[in-house]
Amino acid sequence: MPDVAIIGVGLHPFGRYPGKPALTMGAEAARLALADAGVAWTDVDFAVGGSYEVDQPDAVVAEIGLTGLPFTNVYNGCATAGSALALAKQQIELGEHRIGLVLGLDKHEGGAFTADPTSYAAPEWYGEMGLFLTTKFFGMKINRYMHDHGITQQTLARVAAKAYANGAINPQAFRRKALSEEEILASRMLNFPLTHYMFCTPDEGAAAVVVCDAAIAHRYTDTPVYLRSVATRTRRYGAFEVHGTSAAIEHVPAPTVDAAKAAYEAAGIGPEEVQIAQLQDTDAGNEVMHMAEVGLCADGEQNDLIAAGATTITGRIPVNTDGGLIANGEPVGASGLRQVHELVTQMRGRAGDRQMPTVPRVGVAQLYGAPGVAAVSILTR
């Protein structure tokens, strides 16, 4: 079975672009990724696109060329990019195709996401009562986690301050102003214990990667990065999950734990080998919990690790080196490919002011979202 290599990445920076369609941003990201890989669009065998707001990301071919290639659109909530990468990887492994483009694009309004609750298996009254809110779930989950494991609100502030500090030195970030822990703690309380500056915001942007059969990667690049595994999972009975009207008393781990376990197993790599992580930091509490859920530390170790700077760019296990969702915002379909863009950029030693002192060899990317879906990818160089 062929290995799968990433040979090009492209990013349309996330932010606000009034009047600019998501597909236009997608086309720019696709061109950047193709140019980075040195691959002509006419040589691409297949494509996978993901978006929440755009029904058919394949419409991007109107901008980049009507070559007739098979182009599959996938949507899997916040884990969309994980599913898109998984599909692309499988197509290459099956020997069906050799070179593919994976594209994510979106364009959201600001403020917390909303939708029809019944589309998420939640009843109408749940929405009417103001319970159909991801941010409220995240407040409840981290509040219990803090109670069980002694995590402090100061730790949450440190996580957010790190995100803004990394954003400040990332020319492509949306939030580029460093904020102090005091400013973060003093901002408006949205969902206790999470303040305004501890949250990311839905925004706009696009990201793309070019993948190929690793056997031909050397034709295009001296620095291929290998996509060793991608695993996606949904919640199991007993997990405490977003948009759940009730939860069982018998407790099982979150879907991220299951996806991470499967991804490490498939890659033959353990969490102790990970040198850089891109985690779903929809808010600072999620970054703290996801550190443990992907196996980077035990529950409760985060206070000391984060206080000691272990997750900063120069720390032992840097997390969200480009500022993560907090500093970049979340265009849902593109967010996970931004994570891959950052891992690849760091692994090639091309991250500029935010480059890790030692170019990392093993990275993990993790996505999580409503109504309880997760994706974990393992990359190596």
Partner: protein, 156 residues
């Protein structure tokens, strides 16, 4: 108190001692709330009606510091919700954990493990001028703290 329930089949009403209406699976016995067409644990169809206990303890909570977008349809301000209001996951011992509004609480007195009881509260006035009511949990002065919720020593 009179009033029209926010949804049918959600809680027994009118009643002096209202109960939430859940489902109990005939195959595996798992409880669910609200009652769904299928069992969330084993997938068997047709869980039967099960009235969930009216007393429990607070498993976790958060504040709601902003007005949610639609489909939120509640009254904020005069006679309605004050911002922030509070939401929690309430553990009904031996049965299930239920997500609910919390009433009669403030940030200062909310404690994980505190005893709570089910109440029915005014929610909004509908287009025909009728009072719509919904369920919430309020502090239960006669209840017992959960024994499993000793706080981990919070470090600075």
């Amino acid at each position: 108190m009179a009033g029209v329930p926010i949804a049918d089949g959600l809680f027994t009403w009118p009643s002096d001692e209202p109960r939430l209406i859940g489902g109990s699976c005939g195959r595996c016995g798992a409880l669910s709330f609200p009652r769904r067409a299928g069992c969330p644990r084993c997938g068997a169809s047709g869980p039967v009606e099960h009235l969930i206990g009216a007393r429990g303890t607070l498993w976790t909570w958060t504040s709601q510091g902003f007005a949610p977008k639609e489909p939120f349809n509640g009254a904020i301000g005069e006679g309605g919700l004050g911002v922030p209001w509070y939401v929690g996951l309430v553990e009904i011992p031996g049965e299930i954990r239920v997500e609910a509004l919390l009433t009669g609480v403030s940030e200062e007195d909310l404690r994980i493990g505190m005893p709570l009881r089910l109440v029915v509260v005014p929610w909004r006035t509908d287009d025909e001028g009728r009072e719509v009511v919904t369920f919430a949990f309020a502090p239960d002065p006669d209840g017992q703290r959960s024994s499993e919720t000793e706080e981990v020593g919070a470090r600075a």
